[in-house]
Assembly symmetry: C2
Homo-oligomer: 232 residues x 2
Amino acid sequence: MTRPTEHEVLAAVLQIRADSLQVLAWQRALPPDSGRWALPGGRLGDDEDVERSVRRQLAEKVDVREVTHVEQISVFSHPDRVPGPRLIATAFLGLVPSDSDPAVPADTAWHPLTALPPTAFDHAAIVEAAHDRLRAKLSYTNLGFALAPREFTISALRDLYAAALGHPVSATNLQRVLTRRGLLEPTGEVSPPGPAGGRPAALFRFTDRTLRVTDAFAVLRPPSEQLRGAVP
Amino acid sequence: MTRPTEHEVLAAVLQIRADSLQVLAWQRALPPDSGRWALPGGRLGDDEDVERSVRRQLAEKVDVREVTHVEQISVFSHPDRVPGPRLIATAFLGLVPSDSDPAVPADTAWHPLTALPPTAFDHAAIVEAAHDRLRAKLSYTNLGFALAPREFTISALRDLYAAALGHPVSATNLQRVLTRRGLLEPTGEVSPPGPAGGRPAALFRFTDRTLRVTDAFAVLRPPSEQLRGAVP
DNA sequence: TCCTGTTTTCGACTATCAGTCGCAAACAGC
DNA sequence: GCTGTTTGCGACTGATAGTCGAAAACAGGA
């Protein structure tokens, strides 16, 4: 005879807004934790798995077509994580490109991770976990495509990475590394210079807009991967 | 009015046995899927979170003190992943050092990942996910400590990594990389040579037996991390 | 028109690290 | 003592990252 248990999905949807990493949340109007800010989500439906469910629930708060990337993070299952009947949460990370500004309901707003308002339940820990995952994956995957606009300048991309990672990034190294990995390609066009003038910046895009792991670690890499193609 | 839903935990416990990566499973005696092999696990208790639950459930199949590392992998939540009432699974990866041979019940046995017998439900996918996670984490963490004995020779460690990764590993590079990262230290002793003679191998151990992420990626590393200590 | 300030772009230099190779060291067995 | 075997270790090479500085390309004002 077990305690009644429900299952919910929750998403920490992140976007870079004004050079600062922000998360989408809505303000609870009813107890428990009324007035506090909660992540979008809700109960798992009978005919959907957690991946389908989180996309459906997100659609209630934001245009899901703007959410480029959705990824499972972790299960939060403390018996008393919410008052009342037991509720187990599968947490997700969602990413929105910085050039889109999807419409959101009146109770919903973006908040910088560095200045979160009071959050409901254990949602602050979920945001933390999502941020950690983002930082890690930016390093060894092409996940930047999910935060960046379709086309961008190198310095805009540098600012994006710096905001997501929380520390300065070298534009020279960023361009060189992403290029060598085959993730970046020039569009051939240039963006108009800023208000202070300056050389017009070349525009780039990600070659691939689906997640790809790019870093192979040396110790683990097969020695002498394979001979280079014999074509002259 | 939602369909009754239960929550279970499942663990893919991996160990290197005879230079081959193997997984612990038990053979089902009752329908559904009787005769097929299943991962250890079971229903989530009322007063435990998934992490506590998986350790409790594992204790029924193996001495949990031998399971050095337990880590959450992913949620498996397809509505029809098992027949009957809906059952959502949180999957875990467990690791056992290669020098321990824990006692297991009569219905339980180790199976090489390369020659899995017929598996129950979606458990094969869980094993696959656990293997992927292990491969990835061996590369950028000190997770090797959870697979290796307390003390080992470099060539034994090379064989361990090769079995877990599925491809040959250079002993020279492995030692150099792990040493530079500060993960390896010599015990000062040597192991007796093998039956064919040969130079006695020096023994090493991991400096740290708790999980540590060791690789920092260059693009994301703060430029000029910090000045070296001013001590002469 | 020319000069200055600003921003981007790109090449060069250096340090670090990984992949490879080869030899010396240290054992067993004959 | 000789041979075969395994480990240990240094050296070389190529690839990659961190840094710096100069040149290119623009706007605005003198």
